[in-house]
């Protein structure tokens, strides 16, 4: 005989309150670059940006408050949390590349706490176990119905990047996941 499970009735706004295992914080403003380049441009771009563009899938590189996230074989998302001028930096590389300033296209939510993994996985199929998705790992994937970029900044902390107009949806989905994480 299977055990009977009893669902807990939740009020409509339960997920808007505080959670025991997860903290959701809107990330401060940052500058961001959508970068496309071939392998011959990597050395020059890395030198100009002061951070080595990673060439392995699902990996990122950081230097201080600047992070370079591998999104695809010729595509990176560069984030600078001190709002430095990334366009000016990449323009000095002397390489053939495409750089688009997407600073205001994206916003980020910092998801932290022992339930962070569960909160994100409530709407995201990416395997977030520490062995598969270690600190520094990143990936473009989905959360519910929208595309996100994930970066694990600590064992229990993730940066979730999404497009600006999707952010209320993303924050709401993460809130629901966070409310469930304690159960």
């Amino acid at each position: 005989m299977a055990d009977l499970a009893t669902a807990t009735r939740k009020a409509a706004l339960t997920a808007r309150g505080g959670f025991t295992d997860v903290i959701l914080t809107p990330a401060p403003a940052a500058s961001r670059l959508s970068l496309r380049a071939g392998t011959d441009a990597l050395a020059g771009l890395s030198a100009a940006l002061g951070v080595t563009l990673p060439s392995r899938p699902k990996t990122s590189a950081s230097s201080g408050k600047r992070h370079a996230l591998w999104l695809g074989p010729d595509e990176w998302l560069v984030i600078d949390e001190s709002e430095a001028d990334l366009m000016a930096a990449s323009a000095t590389s002397g390489t053939l590349h495409s750089a688009v300033d997407v600073s205001h296209r994206n916003v980020a939510v910092i998801v932290s706490g022992p339930g962070a993994e569960v909160a994100i996985n409530s709407g995201c199929p990416q395997d977030l176990s520490l062995a598969i998705f270690p600190v520094g790992a990143c990936s473009r994937t989905i959360l519910g119905k929208v595309e996100i970029v994930l970066l694990r900044i600590a064992e229990d902390t993730f940066r979730v990047e999404c497009w600006r107009s999707f952010s209320p949806y993303v924050f709401g989905m993460l809130s629901e996941g966070a409310a469930d994480a304690g159960h």
Binding site: P57, K58, L71, G72, P73, E75, P125, Q126, I132, S139, R140, T141, I142, E147
Partner: protein
């Protein structure tokens, strides 16, 4: 949930991140302006729609964004293998004998 091995991300990812993009290994004629209407129809519109093994293009649209190719069974939905765009079409016999199961979805 179907897991598909992306040859660029080098791991199995959820089907939710992918989009199908039609038959693979269809070469655009070099002399596209010279061919007859019938030849163009053959190239552009006519597909076999086989029952069983098919070679398809897929795109990891919500992941690395890359197009790649896959050998898939249209009846069971099983992915026999996936491989990078530009790589040669794998041997059918080898696929059916299970010698290539990189990218097989579970």
């Amino acid at each position: 949930m179907l897991l598909i091995y992306c040859p660029y991300c080098e791991e199995e990812r959820s089907e939710l991140e992918f989009r199908g993009a039609g038959d693979a290994h269809i070469a655009r004629p070099d002399n596209i302006a010279d061919i007859t209407d019938e030849e163009f129809e053959e190239y552009f519109f006519l597909r076999q729609n086989p029952k069983g093994l098919i070679f398809e293009r897929w795109r990891h649209i919500h992941g690395c964004g890359r197009f790649f190719n896959a050998a898939r069974d249209t009846v069971s939905d099983r992915f026999y293998t996936t491989y990078k765009a530009g790589e040669p079409k794998p041997d059918v016999a080898a696929i059916l004998n299970g010698e290539r199961d990189k990218g097989a979805a579970r």
